[in-house]
Point group: C2
Chain length 95, copies 2
């Protein structure tokens, strides 16, 4: 493989990993969206916040390590944060 | 640069970034070690735990992305966890 092939492979692998991790958090958000009645479980918010914090550290590292363009990394995390904000809004409307 | 040079460069960069991040947490632990009297601040433990959690996510990502060997990544995080355990032990002895 040429050096540019190696780089493309590593970048693609990094993006795939980040998207898999984002997908897992998306799923957590969706499950909670579908179960708005179970607001009683405050751990859910705690878990989501922790997951998103950990994920933002992964993204930040991937950007600094030169594996992912800053604009792409920030977009992945913003999308998750928007979904989380929608979940919290829906939860508050439910109260 | 050849493809192996590119890989060596990326691996080295990843290790450097992780060591910088580990160093920042080490510093937080040291500061608290030197100020055992200020146990009153429970936020310190919270901050350290959160920092180490975020850092473990970085390490995990670096391993999965193929930037850092698993044994090296695990060693960096174990070292931090040992230091943190020492801090907590010292804090408990102080109480």
């Amino acid at each position: 493989m040429s050096s540019s092939d190696v780089l493309i492979h590593l970048h693609q692998k990094a993006i795939n990993l980040l998207q898999e991790d984002a997908y897992k958090i998306e799923k957590l958000i969706e499950v909670q969206m579908e179960n708005l009645a179970t607001r009683k479980c405050p751990l859910y918010e705690e878990v989501l916040d922790t997951q998103i914090y950990g994920f933002s550290r992964e993204i930040d590292f991937a950007i600094r390590a030169g594996l992912v363009a800053e604009v792409i990394g920030k977009e992945i995390i913003s999308k998750l944060e928007r979904n989380l904000a929608q979940l919290y809004e829906a939860m508050n409307n439910k109260v």
